[in-house]
Symmetry: D2
Subunit: 270 residues, 4 copies
C-alpha cells in the first residue's frame, strides 16, 4: 500500500504537509484493545441480509448499505448488528487511549519557524529538522494575505489580537504591512548571503533570519498523540497558521484511519 | 534552604540562568536506589580517626581529610571505609539511571530564540515560555563578540563552519558583520513597533523578529534528564552559545547535587 | 518545610503511602504560566474590608469570608477583587497543563504486586522498586475483608465482576475464600523459603510468589501527571484496592497544593 | 510486505514473540537524518564493477562482494565508494538518535508475569495487556529446566544468585524444586477456579496467581527505544528469561532493519 502516490497538501504560500509513513489500522487498534479480554478483532458491524436469497455480508465500503446482493443481485436489508465500531467508540469515549498508540504516522512538513516553535512543544512527537547550522536555509518566507491580516487574532482572544492602544487595521494598513515585511525579508536575506560569503560561520550568519522564514522537518507520533496535537492545534484557539497545518494532518489521517478519525471529529464537534 | 538568595548567572550579552526550584539530593538518590534491596541511605564513607584521642568522624566537607579533630584538635588519620558514594558511582557507571530521576531542578532562562530552538528538542523537559502571541517581546538581541566570531564553528565540524567557497573571516570582517547585524536588529524592531501600532495582530507582527532575539522561559527536568542535556550541550560539538547556558546549568546543579555532578564530570572527562 | 514529620497514611492491611519529597507550589504554577505574558505571581484575590474600621486583608483560610477583623473584631465585607486563582482556574479548565508540570511529588508506596502492575502503566512516573531478584521479599500478603469481597466488582462493570455462570457470593463463601487464600499464601511462603535455602537463585525461587504479595517502591511525577493518575485511579471504574492508594495520594497532594487540588476535585465532581 | 507470514518465535516453555507490525526502514532513517542538510537518501555504497564486461551493481546482500556479475557472470571488482551506510554509522556512533525514532515495531508477546514486570519498566513503549480483571487467565505457568536452574544467577552478580547461607543447588535439588513448583502451580489453579466458581470477583480471585503465570501483551516502540531495551535486556546482566525474549526481538528487528541492527551488534560486541 505504501507504494501509492504519497498524500501531499500545499499549506500557506510555500508550505506543505506530506504523509511520509504510517502504520497500524482501525482494525489493529481494536485487536490491541482486545488483548485485555483475549479476543481479537471481530469485524465491523451492520449485518446485511438479501431480501431475495437471504445471503448476508458485512457492511464494508465496497459492499455497503444500499448495494446489491453479491449472489443474486437482489436488494439488501440492513440488520442492526453492531460490531467492533462499538468497542472503538467505547475506548475513545472513555479515554482508554493506549490502543490508539498502536498506530501512527510520520509527516514531512514545510512551515515557517514560528509555526515550528509552537509545534515542537508537542513533546511526544519525534522530529528531524533542517538545520541552519549545517546548510544555508532556502530563501522562502511567509507572507500573510490581506484577508488573513484583516481576520486578525482579536476575535478569538484579547491577548493574541492587536496591541493595546493600536490603530484599527484596514486594507491599506495590511498592504503597507505586506510591503514592509517583504522589504525586511529581502534585507535579511541580503545580509545573510553577505555574511556567509564573508566567512561568518553558518551558525552565526543565521542570526538575522526572521521567524517568518520557512524550515522543513519530519514529525512522527502515534495516532493517540496526533489526536492530542489536533485537539490543541486544529482548534479556534490556535493561531490560524498552525491550524492550516493541523487541518492537513487531520485530512490525511482520516484517509488511513477513517473510523478513529470519525470518532475524533464527532467528539470534537458534538 | 529555598529561602536563600537564588543562584543566578549572567550568560551572553543579555541572557541569564537562574535556579528557580530544585528537589531531592545525592542522599535521596541513594535511598531510592536502595529500594531494590530494602536498605536506605547508609552514609558517605571515609571514616577518620584522630591520631591523638582516637575520636572519629565522617568525611563531610566541613570536616574533611586534613582537618583537625573536633575533640582535641589533633591530626586526623583517614581510614578507608567506603560508604554510599561507592553505590552512587556504581549506579552511574552501570547506567542504572532511574534513581537519578528522583531529584531535579527548574531553571529560568533568558536566551536567544535560536538557542531555545536547540533546547526545546530535549523533549523530557517541561517548558513555559514567553509568547510573542500574547505580549510584545522586549527589544533584546544577541550580538556575538568579535572574539566569538573569529572562534568560528569550523574548528569543530566542517558543517557548522563557514559556507563553501566563503572568504576567510578576519577581525575587520567580524566588525562589519556586527554593524550589519545591529542595523538589521534596529530595522526589525522599528518594523515590529510600527506594525503593532498599526493594529497588526501581535501574532503576525512578530514575523520580522530575527532568531537572534531574546526570549525567556522556565525549564524543568529530573537530574537524569539534565545530565542527558549536558552530555549533548555542554560539549565541544554543541554550538558555543548553548554551551554557555549548559555550563551555567552544570555549575548550579553541582551546588545542589555535588556528588552526582562530580560523577558526571568524571565520566565525561575521564 | 521539609523537616516536618512526613505525611504518611496506612492503606489496606499492610500497605502505606508516604510523601517522600515534593516541590513547587500553587503560586509557582501561576508564576510559570505567567512566563507567557511576562508577569509573575500577582497574589490570590478577594480583598476584604472591615465594615467598622475599614482595615482590609486578603482572603486566606485563617482569615476567610465571615471571619472577624483582626484589628477591631468588626464584621468584614468581601470586596470582589479576583486574584490569581482566576488564572489558575482558567489554566485548568482550558487544559493549559504545562504550568502544572512545574510542581510535583514523590511517594513511597507499599502495595500488593497486582496494584503495582496497574500503577506501572502510568509511564510518566519514575519508579524505584524492591526487587525479588536481589533480596527475598518480606512475608506480607493482602487479605481482602469480607466486606470488600461482598462489595464485588460487578456493580461497576460486568467485566470486573464474577465469572460467567458463577454462584452468588455470600458471607460464608467470602470467609471460605479468605481461609483458602491464607492457606495458599502460607504454602507459597514455605516453598519460597525452602527453595531459597536449597540454593535456588532468588530470581527463580520467586516464581511461586502470588500477585497478592506486597512490594515497595518510590514513585515520582509532576503534579500534572499525578492529576492524570488520579483521574483514572481515584475513580469508581478503578479497582477498589488501587483507589484506596489513589485516595491517599490525593489527600497528601491537597495538603501541599490546596488550590490546584481543589480545582481537580471541582472538575471531577462538578 | 505486511501480507507475508508473520515472524514468530517460541520462547521458554509456553511463550512467544511475534512481529505484529513494523514501519520505516534503514533507508528512511537516513532520509530523516538528511533533513538537517536538505539532502535525501543517496544510496548504499560500494560500487562493484565487473572485471570482464564493466557492468556495475550496488552491494546488496544478494549481490554482494565476491558474487558474480549478473550480466556475464564474470568476477566483480569492488570499487570503494562509500554510501549512506557511512552516515548511518556516524549517527549511531555519535548518538544522534532521533532519526532512529522514525522507524519502529510492534510485537505480541506471551511471557510470565515476572518478565512483564521487568519489561514494563521501559516506559517509552506502548502496552496493551491481557487483564485478569476482565477474563480468567489461561492455565499456563513457567517451569524452568534443570539446566536453567543449575545455570543460576550467581555467576553474574552476587545479588541475583542464591540467598546468603544457602546450600549448593545440585541436579537433585533442581528436580525437587521443579516438583514443588509444579504442585504449587496446580494448587494455585485449583484455588483460582474454585474462587471464580464461588462468585469471587475475578479481580480478587486472581490474588493467588503466582508471578510465574503467563500473560500476553502487545508492545510497541520506535527502533531507538527497542535498541535501548536490547542494551539492557539482551545483556548478560539481565535475567536469563527476559534475555530469551530480547534475543527474539533482536532477531526479528534484524530482518526488517538489517543495517541498523548490524550497527547495534557491532557497537555492543566490539
Amino acid at each position: 500500500m505504501k507504494e501509492e502516490a504519497p498524500l501531499r497538501k500545499k499549506v500557506l504560500d510555500h508550505g506543505y504537509v506530506e504523509l511520509a509513513e504510517w502504520w497500524g489500522s482501525d482494525e489493529g487498534i481494536v485487536e490491541a484493545a482486545r488483548m485485555s479480554t483475549q479476543k481479537g478483532f471481530q469485524g465491523w458491524g451492520v449485518e446485511e441480509t438479501c431480501a431475495r436469497c437471504g445471503g448476508s455480508g458485512t457492511n464494508e465500503p465496497e459492499n455497503g448499505p444500499g448495494s446489491l446482493c453479491k449472489v443474486c443481485r437482489g436488494a439488501k436489508v440492513a440488520v442492526n448488528k453492531p460490531g467492533d465500531e462499538k468497542l472503538l467508540k467505547y475506548l475513545w469515549a472513555n479515554k482508554h487511549m493506549t490502543p490508539f498508540e498502536m498506530a501512527g504516522a510520520q509527516f514531512e512538513v514545510q512551515a515557517p519557524i514560528f509555526v515550528f516553535r509552537e509545534w515542537h512543544r508537542h513533546r511526544t512527537q519525534s522530529y528531524n529538522e533542517m538545520s541552519a547550522r549545517y546548510a544555508p536555509l532556502p530563501d522562502l518566507n511567509y507572507m500573510p494575505t490581506v484577508q488573513r491580516l484583516l481576520l486578525g487574532g482579536g476575535h478569538l482572544t484579547k491577548q493574541a489580537g492587536s496591541a493595546a492602544g493600536a490603530e484599527f487595521l484596514d486594507e491599506e494598513g495590511a498592504e503597507i504591512f505586506q510591503e514592509n515585511l517583504a522589504a525586511q525579508y529581502r534585507h535579511a536575506q541580503r545580509r545573510y548571503e553577505e555574511s556567509l560569503q564573508a566567512g561568518v560561520p553558518k551558525e552565526l550568519a543565521r542570526l538575522v533570519l526572521p521567524v517568518g522564514r520557512y524550515s522543513r522537518m519530519r514529525a512522527q507520533a502515534t495516532l493517540r498523540n496526533w489526536a492530542q496535537f489536533l485537539t490543541l492545534r486544529d482548534d479556534p484557539h490556535a493561531q490560524w497558521e498552525i491550524r492550516q497545518y493541523a487541518g492537513a494532518v487531520r485530512e490525511m489521517l482520516a484517509e488511513k484511519f477513517p473510523r478513529t478519525m470519525a470518532l475524533f471529529m464527532e467528539g470534537r464537534d458534538g
